[in-house]
Symmetry: C4
Subunit: 205 residues, 4 copies
């Protein structure tokens, strides 16, 4: 049986909105230490601020893309419902990988490496799940709005999949520096924000 997209969008929006807002819970008010100024204590938390900004941007871009695809769907079926849940399960894990990243970024080379591999690897998992979602949607195109060019949409799969290659590269950068990895993720998010993969529409006949 097929349902309309309204409630799945509302549920997904809810999850995205909560995940993006939970990120702030990892930034604490620093504990008072006698003889240290609050500014110094606040300054020491810089990896948490950097990780917050990068992860907030990434989740924001993820939401925009999710939003963009659903704008072209008119129906959902059960497989889509569960592929969407899978995507949300990975997205919901980002506050955790972000916290691990922030806590280990500036501690030691080893810890920074492990945290960067986890952070980037998680994004690779996300890219794989989102690609699976997109392949399912474009395979038959039976859920698309009538205005979508189904063959054209199927043609975007390879380019879409190539986009996911950027995350393994960021994963490779983990072996150089944790800060560099975070900067790479910020750049990937900025790239995706600026260059959205267009869903081809039918030419009016």
């Amino acid at each position: 049986m097929q349902h309309e997209t309204g409630r799945i969008e509302a549920f997904s929006d809810g999850v995205f909105a909560i995940v993006i807002t939970l990120l702030i819970l990892d930034i604490r008010a620093p504990q008072q230490t006698p003889g240290h100024s609050l500014w110094l204590e606040l300054g020491r938390q810089w990896p948490h601020y950097a990780a917050y900004v990068v992860s907030f941007t990434i989740i924001g871009v993820m939401w925009v893309n999710h939003h963009h695809i659903f704008n072209h769907l008119v129906r959902v079926d059960r497989p889509l419902l569960f592929l969407n849940l899978l995507v949300l399960m990975v997205v919901s894990g980002i506050p955790w990988t972000t916290a691990v990243m922030a806590q280990n970024l500036a501690v030691s080379v080893d810890a920074g490496l492990a945290a960067s591999v986890l952070y980037s690897g998680w994004m690779v998992v996300y890219a794989l799940c989102f690609t699976a979602f997109w392949w399912y949607v474009t395979r038959e195109g039976h859920l698309f709005h009538a205005t979508v060019d189904r063959a054209g949409a199927r043609g975007t799969r390879v380019r879409f999949g190539l986009g996911a290659v950027a995350y393994p590269i960021a994963l490779g950068l983990a072996f150089i520096s944790a800060s560099l990895t975070l900067i790479a993720h910020a750049l990937i998010a900025a790239y995706y924000a600026a260059n959205q993969l267009a869903i081809p529409l039918r030419e009016p006949t």
Copy 2:
């Protein structure tokens, strides 16, 4: 007085979305221990990852089923409003039973048994509340959409109730192993995901 279903769905979606997202708060960034690699510390948290995946899936399936039933309702009345609140109260407790499960899964046989009984018992409570909800909805069928076959829907009650038997079985498994219990819950969720109880529709005359 009877209301439309829009706002109760929005409220329920909100609660489901928040509960499913709060699960991640139980997975912490591990504290630094000198001389231990971060990977080892992350690996030690495996019961938390396992519990996260299973509970996320379960709540996701619960949401899909809730969504499915409301798709066939056009009105809500006060008893339904409160039966729905009861269901949500039990769902909102899952992050807690999940945390107890994750924390005790691999500690000792006794702790694992207690945690498994709590986790499974909570699901039994959920199944009872959801069954009560479904019995109320199907008793008169006065809230159903005109396309629903009311007599047919009433006929699903026994099968629906039988489904709830799976949870007591998982509860029984608790006496063998906590990990086994968690696997059983994952399988039950997968079963429900694949085999949704169809709500019978009227044949067009």
Copy 3:
């Protein structure tokens, strides 16, 4: 300027859904203590379970009533927007009063008394804010749906205000026992759940 009610309902539903779900964060997975069974540790947390059930029910009833009033409004203006924010500010404080109640319920007579007075006093504040909200709505009735009997709605104000008297009585019970106070709040919520104040509608002419 007057707006439609859709977005204020969505925002309020969001706040209600989050507040009601945050209640569970106060129930922790108990820490392991060698030589104590997990059941014992779980049992010790009974005040947290009792407070969870009562506060969840109360917030649920508050949401139902909020929902009920907005069902009869077609417009919102700025004073209503801010009276609504005031109501939400008090509702958002309930997880805190609940936590104080749960933590002090069974500690000592003094602590239980203070926590009960806080818990009940907070409900009195809520009742006052909600009454202010209702008085504003019924004063001119300019925001009501055309089907509402404006004079009749204004006539409910006194009875509505009398309902708020129940909370001060619960506050008085605080001086006898904290558990009794919690039971009184459960009964008040059950009463409001069963006996909703009807908003009078115009007789069709």
Copy 4:
């Protein structure tokens, strides 16, 4: 490509609702200290209550203004989507600046000064982001509803920008007293609540 405003409003409402509700998580149930009454312990937390009320009001007013602008938009484009994300990123940080403020308000002059500068500085950042949002919206006015007077809306930019001057003044007050800063923010919020900048509408011809 341009989308409708429904889903971006739902997502933004979700973020605002979560942020405003997370504020309460900073107010804890005080730990028991033998020989101290619970009232005393509760009373000691006064900076947390003050910061809660002020920040709740500020976020509420921010939501009302966000709501007000979107009421006059019929379309969103990509730059708007990302400017909106930027605004939400800053709003989501308020629970953190609130916690820093509450924790340092009454500790020492130095800590209070630093916390006040952070709290006020964050609001300046918010004002700048929101002004950027408003400048983008009014520059061409291509996203406005047909009823909006585009030239008139562009004319509000300077007054809108001037409003942001209030926050730097509050920042200056930080050097006198942290409590005074908090009071100033409450007054600014009250001012914005009472004097909303009207979006000029076209005169019907």
